[in-house]
Structure formats: structure tokens, C-alpha cells
Amino acid sequence: MSPKMQIRLAADIGGTFTDIVLETPHGRLTRKVLTTPHAPEEGVMTGIGLILADAGLAFTDVTVFVHGTTLATNAIIERRGALTVLVGTEGFRDVLEIGTESRFNQYDIMIQKPAPLVPRTARFTVPERMDARGRVQRPLDEDALRALAPRLRAAGAEAIAIAFMHAYANPDHERRAGEILAEALPDIPISLSSAVCPEVREYERTSTTVANAYVQPLMAGYLGRLRQALDAQSFHGALYLVTSGGGLTSLETARQFPVRLVESGPAGGAIFAAQCAERLAEDRVLSFDMGGTTAKICLIEQGQPASSRVFEVDRTARFMKGSGLPLRIPVIEMVEIGAGGGSLVHLDAMKRVVVGPESASSVPGPACYGLGGTRPAVTDADVTLGLIQPEAFAGGSMTLQPERAAIALQQAIGTTLGLSPEMAAHAVYEIVCENMASAARVHAAERGAVIGTHTMIAFGGAAPLHAARVAEKLGVRRLVVPSNAGVGSAVGFLAAPVSFEIVRSCPVRLNAGFDTATITALLEDMTETARDMVQDGADAAALTIRRGGFMRYVGQGHEIIVSLPDGPLTPDDLPALRAAFEAEYARQFERVIPNALVEILNWSVCVSTTPAKPEPFAPTPARRGAAPARTRRLFDGARGQFVELAVYDRDDMRPGSLVPGPALIAERETTTYVSARFDAFIDGSGNIVMDMKETAQ
């Protein structure tokens, strides 16, 4: 079947809503249905039924179904996973609970660390030991392992994680232990650290392996039921799951490594932005997703969202680094901060305005909802400033009460600081925008990127209200609010390639002793493994193979990823590798280190299908001025007074319509604020594009 005939379906199960997107040769349809937490497949199937009916299509017409879910994340956060037992190296029963031996908050003596997914009573050990070079220092005691099996059964084990010391360097003991336990306990799924996360650092590797085991039965059950439900509907197309790394994977791989499905929803948002970037032909993009409780920021360069190897789930102190459970999986790297429409505002001990991370949630919500909330939230500030039209909030489903917002701002901030409610609102608006700009700046700094050269793509309910100000703070000169932003993640899923990434630790120094043949063999082996995972679901589509080395100066602890050349490595490649490393090092850290040796600690291989280039957005016809629908009073904090602002209805806009800033563009779900430093126009595909005015340079 030619791509033109494809009927593609995507579903994103979120905490509250399940978003469904259907793409047909005739266009795109979207649906939002309530998530059914007891059996999420029901909500998915209901939504699919509705959307197919909308399109006049049947299940049998669907060629591809792409599915993302927060089920794995939620199972961990709510501690609803399987009763998991951990089998470790004798003498290392407490790796999971000793963790990093640190406190995530320096000055708070009352902190509580997150409870490990496997309590001490369910942590067992057996005699065995590999050393750092993968040499057996103590053989695996197979009898002890056999004797352990009935104890695991008696402990009620529903899932088993095996994580031995240095198993990344030599997986033999783990594999053998897995065989023995599988024989004795054939009904209990087993996760090996050398398969789930073959990387050095025992705590992170064990934590990741345990999380995989913990969510495996639940995910296997869900995926099995979904498969059945799809079969019952005679679905014959291809089924893919979205991973946290932003790739697609087969049902089988998802069952094996369910931990890789954590955080697929936000990944979808980043892919959505990456696709927009490609359609806009923008090489450097900053994706900015601001919703009700958090803002997520991600850098996208050359169409690729930034990626990372570590992620923390279930932070007990919200958003505080170190307060969650570490997972070492390929993830799209984004910063998430507690800055959303519902983020609550207060004054701290220094009488500073603090926004978030606490959120008003939907009940009672911000004060202006009139549902009993008395503490001001970001939305209250937006209403007080005049950015949000009270009677048209959330598609007209709710009328906001600005007077309650003003009272809340006055009580929480204005009185103490001697500010009017409007000025207090301005302070909140400025601080929340600064927080987001600051997060973006740190993120860019960590990636060595110059942020002012990026184009911002803003989506999520609260982003269009704040994006222009954040862009001003970052020196970003172009900003795009795409259409269809409300179901961005699900739309993004449809653009993701099928892919699988493997990282293995194998430290090698970049000197004469570098055994290129061994590394070439290692990379080929990894490529084969990844290729198998991908071909499972990718048919014969052409595959892209990206190989990287995690390089550092010998003695350092953080690595920089450098792309490796295609084909076998030879000694001739070494000078170029060092040069590439030093160029990147200097870009990130200002100066290189003379005399220091360079080593490669980890090796990565990512095999993926090559997604079709998305079609560029339609060209924008000649620009022409549009007539504002009305005006509104907006409080201008810089001038300390209200000003009249033109308001345009997005529904009335046509490609080419020009909206000079300052102005508001109102639509059903949200409002876009075009600040005085920007002019906006509607492009050929209905996106709002803002460009910084020449005079504002």
C-alpha cells in the first residue's frame, strides 16, 4: 500500500484524558475521551470507535496504530506495580536503599527519601562476584540460587530483578542465574540488569532493572488485553508503542523492556515539536510545552530532540533533583519545572514572589475558578492582567471571576509588598516567565547551545499566553504556535520512527593500545541486537544506524557523546575522534585540557527506521492586515497602567493575516499573547508565527 493510502491511528493515554488522532489521506481528526484507569484499553477502544465513526472508517481500514501511555509511570508513582523481588550479589543487599548516600535538600533535616520499589524483606543475595574487568572473582553459587527459588516463591514474587555487580562488564552470571530461576519459577518474569541497562554504576543500574521488573506484569497484562481487543476488532495493521526516547517499538520489545515506556507522553510532545520544526525548515528549535501544572522545555537541533541517558521518576520533593528513583534509559531530555496555569504563588521568607511547584489542581483550582480556592495561581495573574477573557475560558465551559483573582493576589502578595493587585499580577507573570526562561537557559547551557538562535514552538494550554515574554527573555526571535497543539503528543506519535537504542559500558583509552577490532565487534554485536528489535515491527523499511562514543578525559566523570564513523573502526580514526571530542568539549566548557588522555567509557548504537520527511507547511500567501474583533484592557506592568489592546479571533484569521503586536489572538481553548516586541501572522497551514520586530532588535 502506498503511503498515500495509509490510515494511521494514534492514542495517548494521559492521567485524565485519552487523546486519539486519526490521519487519513483526507486529513486529520482528533478526539479526547476520558481515561478509564481500571482498564485503560476500554477508553482507548471507545475513543477509536468514535473517531472511526467520525471518519466513516472501520477498524480493518487502519494500517498503523501507535500507542503511548503513562501507565508505567503511574504504576511507579502510585506504587501499583508487581510484588518484585531483587536478587543481587552477596554482600550487596542494600544497593537500592543506600542509593547515593546523599540528601536532596542540603538544609532540610527532615527530608524523607523515596521508598525503594523493593523493600528490604524482598531483597536477596547469592554468592558470586565479577570484578571491574569482567573477570570472575567468585563463581556463581548455583546451588544457593536453586535453594533461593522456593523462598522467592514464598515471598509472593510476581516479578524478579537480577542485578549483580559489574554485570555490564560480564553478563554470564546474571544470564545463568536467570536460566536457573526461570527453570524453577517458569511463571515469573525475570529482568536482568545486563539486558535492561548494561551500564556502570550499581545503584542506577539496579534501580532501572527493578523498575522494569516492577511494571512488567502490569504492562504485559495491559498490552495483552489491548492486543486481544484489537484482534477482536479484526485489526490487521502494525501496532507500535512509544518509548521515552521518542522512538516506536514493537509489542514484544515493550513487554520485555516496559521501563522504556515511562514518560512516552512528554516524548510525544517533543516529537510533535520536532516535526513542526522540520515542516518549518527550522534547524534549531526550542519546544515549550506549558500546561496546568508544569512546563517542559526541550532543545531540538536538526530535527532531533536532545536525548539523555538518565531520568528520575517519582520525585518525592516535586522537581527536586535527587528526590526520585533514577532510571538509566534512553530519554528525550527535557527540563520540567513546576510552572503551569495552576501553579500557586506565595511569598517566601525573603518576601520574594515564588511560583510553584505546588499546584492548585483542577479542584479547587485557581481563585478565579470560584470553586473555593483562595490562593492565587498563575491563571489568576493572567486574568488580572487581562490576558484571559473571563467568559471564554476553556472553550466557554467556565466563566472566570476576576474579582476573586484580584483579592487572592492582594492578600498573598500585594499587601505585604505594597503592590496593587495588577502590579502583583505583573510580578507573578514576570517571575513565572523568568523561571521558565531560566530552565531553558540551564538546559541550553548543559547542551552547549546558544539559545537566542533558536525558534520557539509553543504548545499546551498555558504556553501561548506566556511564550512571547519567555522568548523576549531568551532573545528568541521567532516563535510559532502550531494549530492542533492540544493533542500534540498523539500527533507526535505518528511522526516517530521505529527505533531501539543500546548503550554498553566498555572503557577504552584513545591511545596506541586501543583495540579497534574488539570495539568493532562489540558495535556490530550491539547493532545486530538493536536491528532485531527494530525489524520485529519495521518490515523492510530502510534502517538508519547511529553509533556514538561517550568520551571524556581519563579521570573525568561526565561524558560527551561523539558520533562514530560508519563501518569498522581503524587506528586511523583515532585522531579524528579525539579532535571531535575536543571540539565539542571546548564548545561546552570553554577550554580543552592539554596533556590529558581521552577515553571512551560507553558505546551506543541506535537503529531506527527512516521516517518519511514531513511535508513542509503550505506557503504563506501575501500578508494583509486583519481587522481586530474588539479591544480589551491589558495591564502593562512596564508602564504601570492599563492599555487598550486589539483582540483578534483565530477563527477569523486566514493564511497571510497580519497581527501587529501588542495584541491578543483568541481561540476556543486558549489565547495567544503577541507582545509589543513581536508581530504575528498566520502561515499557510494555519500556524501563528511571531517574528521579533526589526525595531526591537
Partner: protein, 537 residues
């Protein structure tokens, strides 16, 4: 102050904290010293032209933070502002002007904006080896403890001081790492300068002074307000710890009055002949940290928040050791000082004060020779593996097991340690029953069994405390288990000093448990059961 500028100042304050956060991240990411990159033993901050710290990265260790705050004043005395040039960087490891021992390099960089000096960035990190006897309490004066770097120019208008670099390389067992770490300190300040300039451009300001005044005043007022809500009075506390070879007694008197809080260590024992003495800056650092935890944990560290606290110790005492006293392992005693503060405050503030904990880091500092993977030559290794005991039981909460307090460092991953040396850990897990009993229980220590994969001895530079004098329980709570260090063959080892671990022997180290809080009878049955089931007690 008008509304606009008030809001701008708040935003710039947030921005400065982000700027120093970025500075710290660069230091951690580029460091060679394993204790920096894996354990984050650093600090980074920005200072105004009067040497006042206005923002400090929320990371690193209290001992560095507050002593670094004072060190910039010393830099300013040696390098007057009018002599500073764009592209300069200054360095010292003077224990009395820096952060308390020679292993800490402090680098200060003037920040120029549009040709004008606007502020100073300073940072410090712990380097693995600076020569001498190595990092341990063995020395009998500071000259034995390694290379001293007086206040010197590290970089002169962009040109690295190669003479100094050669001196540094020549005087350490780890020349490449030490040089690399020196560069990394300078680089992180450069990144800070770059970010500061961007901020000053954005807000169109050409001086930091109004911002510095705002930050310092707001922070000072916040701390003073909190102190005003405390009961007034004077309380005292004594604590005896193992010391080097004879017990060491510390005494504190803490006074809360209208002026703030004063901690006076009068009556503490005099300087000892080995390197566990503490320079005053470091004494202040940890004392103020304890005060901040108890009184104003939510006020960021800067010259303003520190100003309401005063710390004194008699010259010549172990807590105000003069040059040339040996100070290499000053953390052992220094890290006990928050417990001294807590001991004083337990009477007036019983609801927020924990029992005594392990407090000092149990860094396993080792040296020796080995043949690393892929190399046929025998090479030296020197490594400090950070481990911890239990913290004291807290009001309403058990102590934290195997967790650093007051230090803010992370433990060393064993797999990372084993890549860098021939040591092999046969065991590293909770030490059952080591937490002091009480209504809330002390955190557990750890038990470690360490051998070598090579047929060679290795050296242990022991610097452990709370072996003879365990962390004490409070309000009826029991003491935590004392630390222990011995060989598997039975031989007891000294808690401090250089000792050789023979091949084929196994070193056993047990870190202390934290003290309990409140009467054991008051512990709930549910907690008791959980302790029994998990084997915690």
C-alpha cells in the same frame, strides 16, 4: 523602592542563583577528581566588589561554602580591585585563607562587563592529591601535608601561569588530574562570567551593587525575623570524640539575643599534634550550617543570611588552629560542629533538633600500586571512596541510614571505585541493629569488607571518628553503634593514621549508627515490627 525595580531585583536574584548553579555544574562535569565528579565536593559563588557573597550554588558541601565566602575577602586584600584585569584568575590553597586544607584549591576570577569590573566568581573543589604525606591526619605540621600555593595569579589576562602549573604538576602524585582540575576551576568561573554578562545586558545594568544590597538586606532581615521568634537565652553543650590518639573535647555556648546568634567554643581542647585541627573559617562554616538548618533552612546562603550568626573560638584551640598546625583532615572535627549547635538548641527547640549522628564522612582513602586494565606498567593509584554512617533520629522521623550529614556529598559508586583501583568490595550493606533505639531510631551505619584483586598491599589513610565515642542518643534515646575498623584476621586498626593492609587480608569497616531520640518504650509497635521484619534493628 518602586514596584518595577522591586520585581526586577527579585528576578535578577533568581537569575544569579541560576548563574552560580551553571557555574557549579560545569565544575562537576569537567572535574577529574572523583570526589568532585561523583560526590560533588565543591562550591561556587558570586561576590560583589566588597567581597560580599551574593549568591551561592545550591550544591556541594557546607564546609566549602561558608569558608569560601570568607576567602574572597583575602583575595581582595592580595589583589586590589584596581589591579585586576579582564582574563585574570587567582588561586590559593592556603588553609587559613581558603577552605581549610591544602587539597582544596580556591580560584577567584574577576568578572568584567563592558570594560568595567562588576563582581567576582569564586569556586573551590577537593583535589585528590597535593603531595606531602597525602590526604590524611598523619602530618605534624601543614608543611608535611603537601604543596602550599600562596595567593598567586593563575591566569594573567588569559595567559596561564605555566611556572605555577609546572610546580603543581611536579608536586602531586596525580599530575594530569591535578592540572585538569585546576583548569576546570578556572573554566567554571569563565562560564559564570559569561552568564553574568548576559544578565547585565538583558537588564541594562552596569553595576551589581543595588542588587547585592537588596539580596543581602532581604536575607539578613529574613534570618533576623526568624531569630526574633526564638526563645532568648544561653545554652551549652559538650562533646567528646575520639581525637587522633587521645580523646578530644569540644565545648560550645550558644546565645540567642537581639543581635542574633553567637556560638562560642571557649573551653574546647587545644590544638593537637596531628592533622585534625580546624582553621577558624572552617569552624565558622560548619557552625553556621548547623544554625541555618535549625533556624532558617529556607533562606539562601549569602553575606546577609550569614551576618546574623557570629562564631568565636579561642586562638590556639583545635577549633581555631593557627599556622603551621596540621589541618589536612579538618573535616573530622569540623563536621561534628552542627551536632554541637544542635546540642545547644535541643533545650529551647526540642521539636526540630535531631540526636547526634555519625556526622564525619567515612572516606576510605587508599593508595598503592597496580597494573590497570590494558596497561603492562605498574602505576600508582590514590583514591578516596566516600561512605557514610547513619544520621541521628529526628523528631517524628527515624534517622537516615548510610547518608551524609552535615556534608552534602554523594557516596562513591563501588563499581566506579573498582574501575580506578584494584580494591574489591566483598560487602557493602546496612549494618543491622546499629541505629540507636528510641521513640525514633537512629539511621543505620554500613558494613564493608574490602580486599584487593592484586597480590600487593595497599595503604589506608584512616581518618575515622566515633569509634570510641559513638553518636549519643537524646531525650532518653540510646546511643548509635560505634564505628569499627579491623582486619578479617582479627587485628584492630587505629581509627586514624596510615596503615598497611597486607595482601590476602580483608579490611572490615563498620560505620556508626545514628543516636536514637526519645524513650525506646515510646516507639510504636508498627515501627518495631517493621524494624524486625526488615532486619533493621
Amino acid at each position: 523602592m518602586n514596584a518595577r525595580s522591586q520585581i526586577d531585583l527579585q528576578i535578577m536574584w533568581n537569575r544569579l542563583i541560576a548563574v552560580v548553579g551553571e557555574q557549579a555544574q560545569v565544575l562537576i562535569r569537567t572535574a577529574f577528581s572523583p570526589i568532585v565528579r561523583e560526590c560533588e565536593d565543591i562550591s561556587a559563588g558570586i561576590f560583589d566588589l566588597r567581597g560580599r557573597m551574593i549568591a551561592q550554588a545550591v550544591t556541594g558541601t557546607p564546609g566549602h561554602v561558608n569558608s569560601m565566602a570568607e576567602s574572597v575577602g583575602h583575595f581582595l586584600r592580595h589583589f586590589p580591585i584596581e589591579t585586576m584585569k579582564d582574563g585574570d584568575a587567582y588561586i590559593t590553597n592556603d588553609p587559613w585563607m581558603g577552605t581549610g586544607h591544602l587539597n582544596d584549591f580556591v580560584v577567584t576570577t574577576p568578572a568584567f562587563h563592558r570594560g568595567k569590573l562588576v563582581g567576582l566568581f569564586s569556586c573551590t573543589s577537593h583535589l585528590m592529591d597535593i603531595g606531602g604525606l597525602g590526604c590524611g591526619p598523619e602530618g605534624t605540621d601543614v608543611l608535611m601535608e603537601g604543596l602550599s600555593i600562596p595567593m598567586l595569579k593563575l591566569i594573567d589576562q588569559g595567559r596561564v601561569n605555566e611556572t605555577l602549573m609546572a610546580m603543581i604538576r611536579t608536586n602531586t602524585r596525580l599530575p594530569i588530574d591535578t592540572e585538569g582540575d585546576t583548569y576546570s576551576l578556572a573554566a567554571c568561573n569563565d562560564v559564570g562570567v559569561r552568564a553574568l554578562r548576559a544578565m547585565m545586558d538583558e537588564f541594562a545594568i552596569d553595576t551589581l551593587e543595588p542588587l547585592a544590597d537588596f539580596i543581602i538586606e532581604r536575607s539578613y532581615n529574613a534570618v533576623v525575623e526568624k531569630i526574633a521568634a526564638l526563645p532568648r537565652g544561653t545554652w551549652s553543650y559538650d562533646m567528646t570524640i575520639d581525637g587522633y590518639d587521645t580523646p578530644l573535647t569540644l565545648r560550645a555556648r550558644l546565645t540567642i539575643d537581639a543581635d542574633g546568634v553567637l556560638v562560642d567554643y571557649d573551653g574546647s581542647d587545644p590544638v593537637v599534634p596531628r592533622g585534625i585541627n580546624v582553621p577558624l573559617a572552617y569552624t565558622k562554616a560548619y557552625t553556621v550550617f548547623g544554625l541555618a538548618c535549625a533556624i532558617a533552612p529556607d533562606v539562601p546562603n549569602n553575606a546577609g543570611s550569614l551576618a546574623a550568626y557570629r562564631v568565636t573560638a579561642p586562638a590556639g584551640s583545635v577549633l581555631n588552629a593557627p599556622h603551621p598546625a596540621p589541618v589536612s583532615s579538618r573535616h573530622i572535627v569540623g563536621q561534628m560542629l552542627p551536632d554541637m549547635v544542635f546540642g545547644c538548641l535541643r533545650t529551647p527547640l526540642p521539636d526540630r533538633i535531631p540526636a547526634e549522628g555519625t556526622s564525619c564522612l567515612w572516606n576510605i582513602t587508599v593508595r598503592g600500586n597496580w597494573a590497570p586494565a590494558g596497561q603492562d606498567t605498574i602505576q600508582a593509584f590514590a583514591l578516596a571512596i566516600t561512605t557514610n554512617g547513619g544520621t541521628g533520629a529526628r523528631p517524628g522521623l527515624d534517622g537516615l541510614s548510610a547518608t551524609a550529614f552535615p556534608s552534602g556529598v554523594h557516596g562513591t559508586p563501588i563499581e566506579i571505585a573498582e574501575i580506578q583501583c584494584p580494591l574489591i568490595f566483598w560487602r557493602k550493606e546496612f549494618r543491622e541493629g546499629s541505629g540507636g533505639d528510641g521513640e525514633t531510631r537512629g539511621g543505620l551505619g554500613q558494613i564493608m569488607e574490602i580486599g584487593s584483586t592484586e597480590q600487593r598491599p595497599f595503604e589506608l589513610l584512616a581518618a575515622f571518628d566515633r569509634i570510641k565515642y559513638p553518636p549519643r542518643g537524646a531525650a532518653g534515646g540510646k546511643d548509635g553503634a560505634p564505628g569499627c575498623i579491623r582486619l578479617a584476621g582479627g587485628k584492630e586498626l587505629a581509627g586514624k593514621g596510615l596503615q598497611i593492609i597486607p595482601p590476602d587480608e580483608t579490611l572490615i569497616i563498620m560505620t556508626p549508627g545514628g543516636g536514637g531520640l526519645g524513650a525506646p518504650e515510646a516507639r510504636t509497635e508498627a515501627h518495631r515490627q517493621a524494624d524486625r521484619k526488615g532486619g533493621y534493628a
